[in-house]
């Protein structure tokens, strides 16, 4: 056991996890979202009998296949990291965290991988309806995979349905349904899946836009854009809706994250939502410097979104650190005291257990249970450390939100011009479509930064700080594997980019006469 916390180990472990998760996430949204676009094209083909829709479905299935083959398995590295770099966390949470991950493997992955063979190789070999069903099952399986991972992740933000066992130092699941159906889990799943749909829609729009600029595969591009823009528009609106749900959940359960998202230092009743702002770089919690250099605020909207009331009080960073008696907000120092009481009671319980003192065990356990929900605070040294990095979260959140609203407008514009058959003339918009794909990826990454970095200093909200979650291993092992994984994963990304580019450049198999397509309306 270490006698001190090696922050090099903690920081490198975090950096390694962030790096592998980010690269893993580059593959996921296309896998999840594109299957639905393929399924829609295939459904139209089955309904209408038009062979060109089959060509559309096959082409996107090919690109999906490239992404799937290269991306599959990159999540294994994250699993290795849990066991090696985050073994304390894995032990403490394994009973809860392990169940959704096992469910993912058993239920979702097998569903996805069984029917993917039929989806790829079943054209003309099985009935059209069975083939279509297989495509939908692949899509459903991919989403189901995401569900279990996101349930596990949501539990870290809102730990429910468990009890801490002081004999084993583990959180043990007592209510599976509370974990599965927690408001955080449901909303996180819908919001994240929606973001995957947006990314996939803009992936299709970007490739199709490129074809239109090159004047190639015109009919395929137009038809793909029609599907993708409808899919993208509906998904963007859905993500705005679920984003509201996320804001509400964060306000209820992670007020420090909300304060960081909005750069809110001093809480107020009827708090406004910052639509745009530049934070004062010198601003620190507890000082008198202005929060913002410039900001555009929508009055009362933050209170409405966070607490469903125009005049509700929204606590700021100062309220959370120093407390606010008027609004019954406990200071971080008080929580830290309670946390230390919990940890001391736990230590006393273990000592009494070793000595066989049943009375002392009972007393200590009662004190521990009373202060259990502050246990994590007992590990903190400074009250200010309950806050995440405010500027980082603020800008990440605002980048995500601004891009999210832009996607609604872009998808709507694409749909309008596609229906009017005027897309080819709007070269600027086609370029916007091409750039929207990386921007959608950036928006999604920004969302993950808000979710994960915004939860800091916790791995399990309020109960377990990140610095106590790491393993007792030498940091040089983590540094070494960081570079090893970076090289490995970047090689895969480069392979994906190269193979994907070649497949896009080659285009679909042109069994359908392109000459007939030229002037056709989508």
């Amino acid at each position: 056991m270490m006698d001190f916390i090696d922050m090099t180990l903690v920081n490198w472990s975090r950096l390694q996890f962030a790096m592998t998760a980010i690269i893993h996430w580059l593959f996921i949204p296309i896998t999840i979202g594109t299957t639905y676009i393929i399924a829609i094209a295939q459904t139209i083909h089955v309904k209408t009998g038009d062979p060109h829709w089959e060509k559309v479905a096959k082409f996107w299935a090919k690109l999906f296949g490239i992404n799937f083959a290269i991306g599959v398995g990159t999540g294994i590295i994250l699993g290795l990291e849990f066991g090696t770099n985050w073994s304390n966390y894995s032990w403490i949470s394994g009973d809860i965290f392990g169940a959704p991950l096992a469910a993912e493997g058993i239920m979702a992955f097998f569903l996805e991988s069984t029917f993917i063979a039929v989806m790829f190789f079943g054209w003309g070999k099985v009935g059209k309806k069975f083939h279509l069903l297989s495509t939908y099952l692949v899509a459903f399986g991919a989403s189901l995979s995401a569900l279990w991972i996101l349930v596990a992740n949501a539990w870290m933000n809102l730990p429910l349905g468990m009890e801490f066992n002081p004999d084993t130092a583990r959180h043990e699941m007592v209510d599976f349904w509370s974990v599965l159906l927690s408001p955080f889990a449901i909303n996180k799943f819908l919001h994240t899946i929606g973001s995957c749909f947006i990314i996939s829609a803009f992936f299709v729009i970007a490739v199709s836009g490129w074809y239109l600029l090159k004047k190639r595969n015109i009919l395929l591009a137009k038809r793909s854009i029609v599907i993708a823009s409808v899919f993208g528009l509906l998904s963007s609106l859905f993500v705005v809706l679920t984003g509201d749900g996320s804001a509400y959940n964060v306000a209820q359960h992670q007020p420090a994250k909300l304060a960081a998202m909005e750069g809110l230092y001093d809480g107020s009743e009827g708090a406004g939502l910052v639509a745009f702002g530049i934070l004062n770089p010198g601003k620190k919690v507890g000082d008198d410097i202005d929060d913002f250099i410039i900001k555009i605020e929508i009055p009362k909207l933050l209170s409405l979104l966070g607490y469903r009331s125009l005049d509700a009080f929204v606590p700021g960073a100062n309220d959370l650190v120093y407390g606010n008696d008027m609004h019954s907000i406990m200071s971080a120092s008080e929580k830290m005291e309670k946390g230390k009481v919990a940890l001391d009671a736990l230590a006393a319980y273990k000592e009494a257990y070793a000595q066989g003192d049943a009375t002392q065990m009972e007393e200590s356990l009662a004190v521990f249970k009373e202060n259990y929900y502050y246990m994590g605070y007992g590990h903190l040294h400074n009250p200010e450390s309950i806050l995440p990095n405010i500027p980082f979260i603020f800008y990440s959140f605002h980048i995500m939100v601004m891009l999210g609203f832009a996607f609604v407008a872009i998808a709507a514009l694409f749909l309008y011009l596609a229906v009017k058959n005027r897309l080819e003339k709007q070269k600027w918009l086609l370029w916007v479509g091409i750039w929207s794909f990386p921007l959608a990826m950036i928006a999604s990454m920004a969302g993950w930064i808000v979710a994960e970095v915004g939860r800091q200093p916790w791995t399990i909200q309020g109960l377990l700080p990140t610095m106590v979650s790491t393993s007792n291993i030498n940091s040089s092992a983590v540094i070494l594997t960081f570079w090893m994984f970076l090289i490995l994963l970047l090689t895969l990304v480069a392979a994906e980019a190269r193979i994907m580019y070649l497949a896009i450049r080659k285009g679909p198999d042109n069994k359908v006469d392109e000459k007939k397509e030229g002037g056709s309306h989508a």
Binding site: L80, K350, V468
Partner: protein
């Protein structure tokens, strides 16, 4: 039922033919095989269990070590970092 199994057999034949004749399919298969070799063979089967994974004699030993960390780490930590 017979048609179903015939369809499955045809899918298998198509899959084999695709991997035999398509350059793209061959490249993807190669990538998948290399990944399996690295992820499962090298990382999961060799490097991690032998050299990197923390070792415990039993669950009780591991639980005691985690408990020690839970109870001792707070006393020495000084916050001064980027969250």
């Amino acid at each position: 039922m017979k048609a179903f199994f015939l369809g499955i057999a045809q899918i298998a034949v198509t899959a084999v033919n695709t991997f035999r004749y398509s350059k793209l399919a061959k490249a993807l298969l190669l990538i998948v095989l290399i990944k399996i070799l690295i992820f499962y063979g090298f990382l999961k089967g060799f490097l991690y269990p032998r050299y990197l994974k923390p070792k415990w004699e039993s669950d009780e030993h591991r639980s005691n070590e985690v408990m020690k960390d839970l109870l001792n780490k707070p006393k020495t930590y000084i916050y001064d970092g980027f969250h």
